[in-house]
């Protein structure tokens, strides 16, 4: 077969589109025309990898030109069950994220006002010596974009090596409330259902969630079902209209914090109308509440009877809920009637709207509660499912447990048995792991930004794979003050310059995504693996190597924590012949597969909470597997789609329909929680009359450090903006494109106005996406957080809007 290059590229594209069309239409994947397949593989080397961006976890096929060592093609992976060959605009441009002109390629040390290049050796030395001087003053701040082995190495280094628990991920800012919701309801973290529920349900309820933009490939399942003539009722509940609303059967607009009242109202009507599931109440549920929900809420609370629960929710009549939430009483009946109907299947979806919430744990518990109370749980299509924003918030932050209180595999530092188990797997001496939880994100940064003499006991902070100078709330309090304190040293590993690197004392250039081996865990418990496919630029190196190199330098400096029980280096690794490989030297790092070695060790942690993982090589052969993954008698590995359900989960006691085998009450039952409605900590008033909500947009991912370097996504959404209701705009005499100052009690930010934009906030409410580093909206947001999960509320604070009339001058 012979064709010119453009014809070939077009034929390849058409073959991919036709295959995907077949899959969408009939659920079948026809074989690629063999002549096209041969041609493709003779020119470009393809391999799989999960997408670098969101928690959906689509799989890509990445084409690399071996002559240039560059990515030249990205396709949706037809064999991937998550995305069935589809991608969103971020995913299909993901390859270009590698090639921004300003990639960081050399370690840089701040000297005076400038960053000057230094050698890796010197950089590693500086970090090790600072830690050696004050190990207790060191903190590691990572993310849900750490690969599983990267997070595991950082976790082992900090808790198993330094005996210090000051490690927390940015995931604290996005899913900590989901974790506390799952743990206090089921005794174990992460959703019981999977994306398959979206293919099976009759009703989808989005709770302050906009999957049409934020998880677009998942959302397209709904569109496709409808286009095949299936009836799917979509109920969108939110504080502003979004692209998801455009597809909704019903849109219920609630006042900020009103979601708590809505959930309580549904629970009340289920009880009042006797439409709850008697079977669930009798066999599978206990009821709980916090004795002091305002001052001292806890993960375990205290038990209450079903009658007490009924009485507690009885004040949340539809009329009362209408008053608190703004949603008409008739719609609360509509929701309660849906939940009260056992013949339909209901999937609830949520993400940051419910998690970034000062009552984040409460609202998570309540939504689980109404699914359980109504029996909409444990059947395909019946599931309360939280989605994650980051590609490995589940796999790394939650499962590896890179949180200040956690140990791998669902363990916690406060539990002596868990510490011993971890010390045994790590082969470190008894007592190495500190029983006291470290600082959670907000506290860690507060301590770093506080002078030592005033109790700011963190003096060296290492950031990997995230951009806190941009993404922390209230950065005027949590980020910038440390930059003026002499003894505070900020290390940032990243791939591009960001607000964080600009203010860092030491910058380390990192390898990005397919420039290194990696593993992620997506929102549906799916663990995914990929191999390095291209070389990183300049001197950029893997984050995991950076951690191991610092650990080894500390070992050389005589830090006892970097030795195991037998006096060997904490990260000693051997090749197949049993010979030790000096992986702390960059030239030797890829002599063995470090990811495989770390993962095989980590895997031993995963059985305690029945989150069993398969061996590394099994993941290399699959497009991810959903844990628990168990070995069948024939030696194959089987994933589990429906946790706690007898028909699928092998850990459910034989003969049981449902079994919550990690129940906090040790009786196989889940907990249904009561929590009262509590008003938000800051509400609009005469001085600050508008609500402000922040969030994301389809084209950009988080702080935009990668997607703002991709010309396509940057052109599609070149800058941030503030969405304003047309009547508010008219009152303030604002027009689209005009620049305004958004100001809170904490700080201000200048943004162009967008009226009737993509999202449509109600009167008195504004929305600002946070991706744009030129318009740092987190100088405005509030650092108030959920008292249990410690997750800040980025979704509601009070602001005023002023018109910018000339540089430096304002009116209004």
């Amino acid at each position: 077969m012979s064709m010119d290059r453009r014809e070939f590229l077009k034929a390849t594209a058409m073959a991919a589109a036709t295959t995907a069309a077949s899959r969408l239409a009939y659920g079948e994947t026809p074989a690629l025309d063999p002549s096209v397949a041969d041609e493709v593989h003779s020119r470009v080397k393809f391999d799989k990898a999960p997408c670098r961006f969101c928690g959906t976890g689509c799989h890509l096929q990445i084409g690399v030109d071996p002559n240039t060592d560059k990515v030249v093609s990205i396709s949706g992976d037809q064999r991937a069950e998550v995305n069935k060959g589809l991608l969103c605009v971020k995913g299909y441009h993901a390859g270009l994220a590698l090639y921004g002109k300003d990639r960081l390629t050399r370690p840089m040390l701040k000297q005076g006002d400038k960053h000057v290049p230094i050698s890796w050796d010197k950089a590693i030395d500086i970090i090790a010596k600072r830690i050696q001087k004050n190990p207790a003053g060191f903190a590691f701040y990572g993310s849900g974009q750490w690969t599983i082995p990267e997070g595991y190495a950082a976790q082992k280094f900090t808790k198993g090596g330094l005996g210090n628990n000051h490690i927390d991920p940015n995931a604290r800012l996005c899913m900590a409330s989901a974790v506390t919701g799952f743990v206090s309801t089921y005794g174990v973290d992460e959703p019981a259902g999977t994306y398959t529920d979206l293919d099976k349900c009759d009703v989808i309820i989005t709770w302050g969630n906009n999957p049409a933009e934020m998880h677009p490939v998942l959302f397209s399942r709904v569109i496709d079902r409808r286009s095949r003539g299936e009836k799917v009722t979509l109920i969108d509940m939110g504080t502003r209209r979004t692209r998801t609303t455009d597809h909704a059967t019903h849109y219920l607009q609630f006042k900020p914090q009103g979601d708590v009242a809505i959930a309580l109202g549904i629970a009340h009507l289920l009880c009042k109308k006797n439409t709850y599931s008697q079977e669930f109440v009798d066999k599978y549920l206990n009821f709980r509440r916090d004795s002091d929900p305002l001052e001292n809420p806890t993960l375990l609370g205290e038990s209450m009877t079903f009658d007490e629960f009924k009485r507690a929710v009885s004040v949340y009549t539809p009329e009362k809920v209408e008053e608190l939430s703004g949603v008409p009483a008739s719609k609360i009946h509509l929701l309660a009637d849906l939940f009260g109907n056992p013949d339909i299947r209901i999937t609830s979806l949520w993400c940051m709207g419910m998690n970034q919430h000062t009552r984040g744990t409460d609202i998570n518990r309540l939504v689980h509660g109404i699914h359980l109370l109504s029996g909409h749980f444990g059947r395909p299509g019946d599931a309360p499912t939280s989605l994650t924003g980051q590609p490995s918030a589940c796999g790394t932050a939650r499962e590896v447990g890179t949180l200040a209180h956690a140990l791998p595999g669902g363990r916690v530092v406060a539990n002596a048995k868990h510490r011993e188990q971890s010390e045994d797997i790590w082969n470190v001496p008894r007592g190495r792991i500190n029983p006291k939880p470290g600082y959670h994100t907000v506290l860690m940064w507060e301590k770093f930004s506080t002078p030592k003499e005033e109790g700011g006991d963190i003096d060296t902070l290492w950031v990997q794979v995230t951009n806190p100078g941009h993404s922390l709330p209230n950065t005027e309090k949590l980020f910038y003050p440390s930059r003026k304190l002499e003894d505070k040293f900020l290390i940032v590993s990243d791939v591009y310059p960001t607000e964080s690197t600009r203010h860092a004392d030491l910058i380390l250039p990192s390898a990005l995504w397919i420039e290194k081996n990696g593993m992620f865990g997506n929102s549906e418990r799916r663990t995914q693996q990929w191999f390095k496919q291209v070389s990183p630029p300049g001197e950029a190196r893997d984050d995991c190597w950076q951690t191991i190199a610092v650990a080894h330098r500390l070992h050389e400096l005589g830090h006892e924590g970097m030795k195991d029980r037998d006096g060997r280096f904490l990260f000693e690794m051997k090749d197949e012949a049993g010979k030790s490989v000096p992986v702390w030297k960059w030239t030797n790092y890829y002599d063995i597969n470090v990811d495989r070695a770390l993962f095989e060790e980590y895997r031993k942690f995963t059985t305690l909470k029945h989150k069993n993982l398969a061996p590394y090589d099994v993941y290399a052969a699959h497009r991810g597997l959903r844990w628990p993954v168990v070995q069948e008698p024939d030696g194959t590995w089987r994933e589990v789609q429906y946790r706690f359900a007898g028909f699928d989960d092998p850990f459910v006691e034989k003969g049981k329909k449902l079994d919550f085998y990690h129940s906090t009450t040790n009786d196989g039952r889940a907990q249904v929680w009561f929590a009262p409605y509590v008003a938000p900590p800051e509400v609009p008033d005469a001085d600050y009359p508008f609500w402000l909500c922040t969030g994301r947009v389809l084209e950009h991912w988080h702080t935009g450090s990668m997607t703002m370097r991709i010309p396509q996504t940057r052109r599609a959404m070149p800058n941030a903006y503030v969405e304003v209701h047309p009547e508010d705009a008219a009152e303030l005499n604002l027009s689209s494109g005009e620049v305004v100052i958004i100001e809170s009690r904490r700080g201000s930010c200048e943004l162009p106005v967008w009226i009737n934009g993509r999202g449509r906030p109600p009167r008195g409410s504004l929305f600002v996406p946070f991706f744009d580093e030129r318009m740092l909206i987190n100088q405005v947001t509030l650092d108030a957080h959920c008292p249990i999960s410690k997750e800040p509320d980025y979704k509601k604070c009070a602001v005023k809007v002023r018109k910018l009339t000339a540089k430096g001058a304002t009116d209004g």
Binding site: R5, K10, A21, L96, P711
Partner: protein, 98 residues
């Protein structure tokens, strides 16, 4: 010149779908594949990135009869420059407070 592979989910209404197909065929950037049930494979080849974005994001979804646009792949091996001249990332609208 970027080449993108798309699948368009077309309406189940025959008349509107036919009109949409005619409209799509009229655009010289588009190469239409064979309709698979109501899913249309489509390859678009544009001379600039901006044109491609406009087509995928605005023009195609706004055609009556096109229910949804799925993006399948992009090939950018022919693009001479991967980073076009864009507005400075660092510039702020006015001086920050610090």
């Amino acid at each position: 010149m970027p080449i993108s592979a798309l699948v368009l989910t077309m309406t189940l209404d025959d008349e509107q779908r036919e009109a949409a197909l005619v409209e799509l065929e009229r655009n010289p950037f588009n190469t239409l594949g064979n309709l698979v049930s109501n899913q249309l494979p489509l390859v678009i080849e544009t001379s600039t990135v901006a044109e491609g974005i406009e087509l995928v994001r605005d023009v195609i979804p706004s055609i009556p009869g096109v229910d949804f646009v799925h993006v399948i792949s992009i090939d950018f091996s022919d693009m001479s420059s991967r980073d076009e001249k864009l507005q400075s990332r660092r510039k702020r609208i006015s001086d920050p407070m610090r």
